[in-house]
Every structure is written in structure tokens, then in C-alpha cells.
Symmetry: C2
Subunit: 259 residues, 2 copies
């Protein structure tokens, strides 16, 4: 039996999604909560992707397998998990799905937001990045649009990664304005390389502050060398906000995606 | 010379606005930052009102007096204060005002929001209250509207307070829905008694969960006894969001009020 968990977490306190020795992770917390709720210590959740230390997820999907169906109702399990989990992780739903649906490999699209704060803001300090320089968002959007005609993102891939390919199909890469007048970068693709969004945002910051012109940005993409691009943007501005799965295999989103 | 400071703070870490021995306060942080920035340890800021431990301010006004005009530009002072102050306090502006304008006594209206989270939410956990019961907001609005015809708020005043009068003129007391579909209570008045908003919200929660009917709510208002009302709502849901001053005495808001 396979179950999908829809969840969200504030990544501030975690060393990312992925289980690791000597560091607190969201995966570990979720495994522990499932072990308590279902009295089963063999469960190991599989996430839709890694998130780095300090990166948030407003929407995240993970799956777990058990031999027998969960005894209690899935509403009960959702409630129980939330009562066990710390306040920085919440579960929105638990649903039984087709065994062939995989949280990571079945996902067809992922979307990230990178939030920028135009001023020091006590209320968004863990969720956005306040750059100590002025940014020209028109220029950053001009550069971002160049990414859409690109498929090889080696320039923004972590060095010595064990990814087989650096090919990603982007659907959107655009700076938008939220209801408070603050800018955020929205980027959607079938897959992302490790550290890719923060490397892109960091390089776009160099465009926005005038350190890099459009030709320079094009050259970085063409170079296919991570060392050509700028340093990564700070993790606290980044949130995974959407993951899409093919319909018809038992999974129904319980909350609408962020538009 | 008198100066007005517009600021905001996340109250989570503070024992309220007011300076007190052996506990960290916003007033103490601001006094310390002004002492460093202006090399003057005699400055003592006067706030527009007290906020309790854990209560936030999205908009707060304080004043301070100095013998001679500030040497540097007020933009410099704003920047300097923000660089000295911790990340949970930010200064929006410093402005010279008429000496007769007083941060507390000149304020003609104050507005608070009380934010409710309909589900466990990692991102608003320090800024809203997630009640462990269902609420009927229509009934709560029916009860809230009764407050508007009232002037004596003794039923919602802290016992043994040293306030001379418990008379307040309310302009608004209403549950509204924000852009995320979450409810918040907006209450405006010329003045508020200590603990008044949280006592009102706590009592409205009892209406919303069916523990108190409209007649019971009316009786509590009429009784003029704090012990008749319900317990106070948790502090983290409460934020001061607006303070209004009479025009024409040198003070110009640097950010628009939240509507």
C-alpha cells in the first residue's frame, strides 16, 4: 500500500529535507511521527526532492509504503501526525495512491519562489532575502527570459554532482510582484539540479545591481561552467511552492497550488 | 527637538514594549540603538502604547527628545538604527515633529488585528493563533457588532488597573477575511484598556464555538466585571497595525496604513 503525504515546512531549523547523520532533517521528523502514529518503525518516507539547509516548502509531497492499509481513517492520521510533528512542519493530507505513483519520479513539474524583501521586515525575515543593494527588476526579467530558450543548465549545477544529465525543461522564469508590492522570482521546470535556483537567482542579482550585463549573462549560460556564474542567493528566500503529478492515479491535491 | 520614529517589531522574543528590569523589551532595544547612533545615553523613547509580551506591532510610533537637532540626515539615522537593531525590530522613518506632538497622548485612533489560522501553518505560527475548535464567524460578527454601541469596557479591562476611566470609543470591531482566506479581527478605537483586545477576542471565541449565546455575550458587557468575560486569547495572534495622529504638526506617515 502506498500513501502520499502533502506537507509544508519552515526550513529555518532544518538541515534540509534529506535524512543525514548528526543533523536534524524534515525526513527524519516525518519518519519519527509516522513510527509513533502507526506504531511501525520500518517506515521510510520518500520525498519529491531535496531541499537545502534553510530552504522552505510551502507545498511538498512525500510517499511511504506499508504492508497493510492504515487501520484508522486518514483524517485521523493527518490530525495525529500534526499533533506529533513540531510546529514548523504541518501535514495537509494523507491519501492512498496507486503503487506506481512515486513522489519523486512521477512528478512532472516543480515550482519554486524566491522572495525578496525591499526593506528590513521583522515578519518576513526567515522567509525572504533583503539584499543590501538596489535591484533593477526589468533587467533581471530580461535576463530571466533568456533562460527559457535554454535546456542545459550546467552553468548553474553544483560541481561534482552525480546527476546523469543537466538538461531541464523550464516552463516559467519570471520576477513577479506580490500583493504587498514585494518582488519574487517564480521558476517552474520538470526538474531542477541541486542548487540551481539559488545559483540562477544569485546571478540575476548581479544583473540587477549592474555587475553583469546581458551579454555577460548569455556568456555564463553558454560557458556551461558553474564557476562562471555568481554565488548562490541566500537559502531563506527560497521556497518550493508546487509539485505536479499526472492525474488518474489516486492522488487529488487537497489545497490549490499557489498561482 | 522632538522626533517621531515609525517602527515595526515581531514581539515573539520581547516582554512587550515597555522597559522593565530583568526582561528584554522593545523600548530598551530602541533606547540602546539611539544611544549608539547618536552617542547620547540620555535618550528615553516614549511609545504610543504598551504591548504585552508576545504581541506584535506592524506599525508603531515612538518619540524622543534631544536638545540639539540631529547632526546627520534622518535617512542616515534610519539606516544606522536598522543596522544596530536586531532583525525583529525595524525602523521605517525618523521625522522631526512639533514639540507638542506626543506619541501616546496625541494619538487619536489605534487599530489592532487578531489573526486566526484555520490550520496548523509553519509560516504564520508566530503571528497567528490556530484554535483547536471550530468557529462560527457569523455569530462572532453578530456579537462583535454589539460592542460598537458600547462605551464602558470594564468587562474587558484588566482587574486592579490604574486607568482612570474604562470609556473607549470604538470605530470598528469586525471579523474580516484576508487574501489567503483566513479570518482576522479588526478593532479600532481612540484608546484601548490593558488586555482589552485579547479579552474581547477570547470572549468572541466562546461565542464562535457555541459556549456563549448572544444574550450571554450581552450580559457580560452589562456586568462590567472582568471575571464574567472569558479568558484572554493567546498573545501571538495580536498585532498593532495602525496609529493615527492629527495632521499639520510635522508628522507624515511614511507607509500607508493597512486597510
Amino acid at each position: 500500500m502506498r500513501y502520499f503525504i502533502e506537507l509544508a515546512y519552515d526550513g529555518t531549523r532544518f538541515h534540509g529535507w534529506q535524512l543525514q547523520p548528526n543533523a536534524i532533517s524534515v525526513q527524519e521528523e516525518l519518519n519519527g511521527a509516522l513510527a509513533k502514529a502507526l506504531r511501525n518503525t520500518d517506515i521510510n518516507v520518500v520525498g519529491c526532492g531535496r531541499t537545502d539547509t534553510g530552504v522552505h516548502s510551502e507545498y511538498y509531497v512525500a510517499h511511504f509504503d506499508v504492508e497493510n492499509p492504515v487501520d484508522e481513517s486518514l483524517e485521523w492520521l493527518t490530525f495525529k501526525l500534526n499533533s506529533i510533528l513540531p510546529s514548523d512542519i504541518c501535514v495537509m493530507s494523507v491519501q492512498q495512491v496507486d503503487d506506481s505513483l512515486h513522489a519523486r519520479f512521477s512528478a512532472t513539474m516543480r515550482t519554486y519562489h524566491y522572495y525578496v524583501a525591499s526593506r528590513k521586515n521583522p515578519f518576513t525575515r526567515f522567509k525572504s532575502y533583503h539584499p543590501p543593494f538596489q535591484l533593477d527588476f526589468d533587467k533581471m526579467n530580461e535576463a530571466a527570459s533568456l533562460l527559457l530558450s535554454e535546456e542545459d543548465f550546467t552553468s548553474f549545477a553544483r560541481l561534482h554532482s552525480n546527476a546523469k544529465t543537466n538538461i531541464c525543461y523550464l516552463q516559467q522564469a519570471e520576477w513577479l510582484v506580490d500583493s504587498n508590492g514585494e518582488y519574487y522570482f517564480r521558476i517552474s521546470a520538470n526538474r531542477f539540479l541541486r542548487n540551481m535556483v539559488r545559483a540562477i537567482v544569485g546571478t540575476l542579482f548581479d544583473v540587477g545591481r549592474g555587475k553583469l550585463d546581458m551579454d555577460g549573462f548569455k556568456a555564463i549560460i553558454a560557458e556551461k561552467d558553474r564557476q562562471a556564474a555568481s554565488s548562490s542567493a541566500a537559502p531563506q528566500g527560497l521556497s518550493l511552492v508546487d509539485v505536479v503529478y499526472p492525474e488518474g492515479r489516486g492522488f487529488a491535491r487537497s489545497i490549490p497550488p499557489i498561482l
